[in-house]
C-alpha cells in the first residue's frame, strides 16, 4: 500500500457503499479496510461517500425534504426520540391538521387499496388553481394498504390556514386511474402563530 494519488486497484463505488452499509462479508470487509487505510485515493473516495451519507442523514433527520417512507421507518424515527406528528387519512377522506414548533416530523398515512397496482403516482394539489406537483412512481408496499408521506416540517409550519389535497393515481400501460383523494384542512398552531 502507498499514499500515491493513483491507486493500481481502486475500490469501486459500489464496494465502498456496500462496505459503508455493512453489506460485505467479513473477509471482503477486512480486505477493503486494509486497502483504504493504506491508500490515499480510495480513502478520499470513502470520505466523499461518508460526507454524502452524513448530509443525507442530517437532511432526513431535519425533515428537510418531501419523501414517501415506510411504516417501519416512522417507527425508527420515534425510537430515536424524534417527535412525529401523524395523521391517518381515510380513502377519499379529510383530516383537520396542524403542526407545532416542537414537532420534528409530520407524516400522513394515505389509506388506499393497492393490490394489483404496478405504478403509483402522488399528486400534491394546491388551492385556487395554484397548480399541482406530481411525484411519479413512488415506492409502496401493496400489502400495507396505503402510503406514508413525510412533508418538510418547515414548509408546513409556514402554512397559513389552508386546504390542500393529495391524490394517488395508479398508472398502467399509459392509462391512469384515481385511487383516492385526500384533503388536509390545515390550521397553524397557536404556538406557530406567535
Amino acid at each position: 500500500m502507498n499514499t500515491s494519488s493513483s491507486c493500481q486497484s481502486p475500490l469501486d463505488w459500489r464496494t465502498l457503499v456496500a462496505y459503508w452499509l455493512g453489506e460485505l462479508d467479513p473477509d471482503s470487509e477486512a480486505r477493503t479496510e486494509e486497502h483504504y487505510l493504506g491508500c490515499a485515493q480510495c480513502s478520499r473516495r470513502l470520505e466523499e461517500l461518508a460526507s454524502l451519507a452524513q448530509g443525507i442523514r442530517a437532511l432526513t433527520r431535519a425533515s428537510g425534504v418531501n419523501a414517501v417512507i415506510s411504516e417501519a421507518f416512522v417507527q425508527r424515527l420515534v425510537e430515536h426520540g424524534l417527535q412525529v406528528r401523524e395523521y391517518r387519512v381515510p380513502l377519499n377522506g379529510s383530516v383537520n391538521c396542524t403542526v407545532a414548533p416542537e414537532d420534528d416530523f409530520v407524516v400522513s398515512r394515505l389509506e388506499a387499496p393497492l393490490a394489483g397496482v404496478t405504478r403509483l403516482d402522488l399528486v400534491y394539489v394546491y388551492p385556487e388553481g395554484a397548480g399541482e406537483m406530481r411525484y411519479e412512481d413512488i415506492p409502496f408496499a401493496a400489502a400495507s394498504g396505503g402510503v406514508v408521506v413525510s412533508t418538510p416540517i418547515d414548509t408546513v409550519l409556514a402554512l397559513p390556514t389552508i386546504t390542500l389535497q393529495m391524490r394517488l393515481l395508479a398508472v398502467d400501460n399509459g392509462s391512469e386511474r384515481v385511487i383516492g383523494e385526500y384533503t388536509f384542512n390545515h390550521t397553524p398552531s397557536e404556538q406557530a402563530k406567535d
Binding site: W20, E34, L52, Q54, T60, E136, D137
Partner: protein, 189 residues
C-alpha cells in the same frame, strides 16, 4: 541519529522507518506526516464501526498514539506493511472501546505531545445544495437514499420494508447516489 530519508508522497514505509530509527529521539516531521496521512483514514474506520463522530475521534487518537508507540519501540518488522499494522491497531482499539477498557489516558500521558492537531474532513456544509439535489431525484431513489443513510441500513433490511428485492434496492441506490454526486458537485444542477 541516522540521516532522515526524504518523505516522498508514495512511501509510507519511509515514514515507519524514520520513526523507528529516530528512537529514542523523535523525528517530528515523520511523525507529523504519519498523523496527517493516517488520522483521517482511521477516523473513517471509526465512523464505519462505531457510527459516532466522538467515538471515531477517540479511536483516531488512540490508534495513532499506539502506532507511534509501537513504531518507536521497533515493533514493526516490515515497514512496507504499515497499513496492515494500522488496520490491526484499529481492530484492537474498536474491541477495547466496545469493552470499555480504553488505554487512552496513559497513552496520552506518555505520547500526547507527539500527537499534533490533525485536520479531519468536516461534513459538507452545503446542505441547501444537497437538499435541492435530493429533491430533484426520482421518488424511489430519494426514498431509498434517505432510508439507507438515515441509520445506515443494508439493502436486505430495506428491501423487506419496501417490498422490493435487495438487488433492486442496490440498483436504485447506486443510480440515486450517482445522480446525487453529479448534482452536488455541480455537474448536473
Amino acid at each position: 541519529m541516522p540521516v532522515a530519508d526524504p518523505i516522498t508522497p508514495t512511501d509510507d514505509a519511509v515514514l515507519a522507518r524514520r520513526v523507528a530509527q529516530a528512537s529514542p529521539e523523535t523525528d517530528h516531521e515523520a511523525e507529523a506526516e504519519l498523523c496527517r496521512r493516517f488520522a483521517p483514514r482511521v477516523r473513517l474506520y471509526g465512523l464505519r464501526h462505531l457510527r459516532d463522530e466522538a467515538a471515531a475521534a477517540d479511536l483516531m487518537q488512540q490508534v495513532i498514539l499506539m502506532t507511534l508507540e509501537r513504531l518507536r519501540a521497533g515493533a514493526l518488522r516490515e515497514p512496507e506493511r504499515l497499513a496492515s499494522f494500522v488496520f490491526g491497531m484499529c481492530r484492537m482499539v474498536v474491541l477495547d472501546l466496545r469493552r470499555g477498557t480504553a488505554r487512552r489516558e496513559s497513552l496520552l500521558e506518555t505520547y500526547g505531545d507527539a500527537l499534533l492537531p490533525v485536520e479531519t474532513p468536516q461534513p459538507d456544509p452545503d446542505h441547501e445544495r444537497l437538499a435541492h439535489c435530493l429533491e430533484r431525484l426520482p421518488e424511489r431513489e430519494r426514498t431509498i437514499l434517505m432510508m439507507s443513510f438515515y441509520d445506515d441500513m443494508p439493502a436486505e433490511a430495506l428491501a423487506r420494508e419496501l417490498s422490493l428485492s435487495p438487488a433492486n434496492v442496490r440498483v436504485i441506490r447506486h443510480r440515486g447516489l450517482e445522480r446525487l454526486r453529479g448534482c452536488v458537485t455541480g455537474g448536473d444542477s
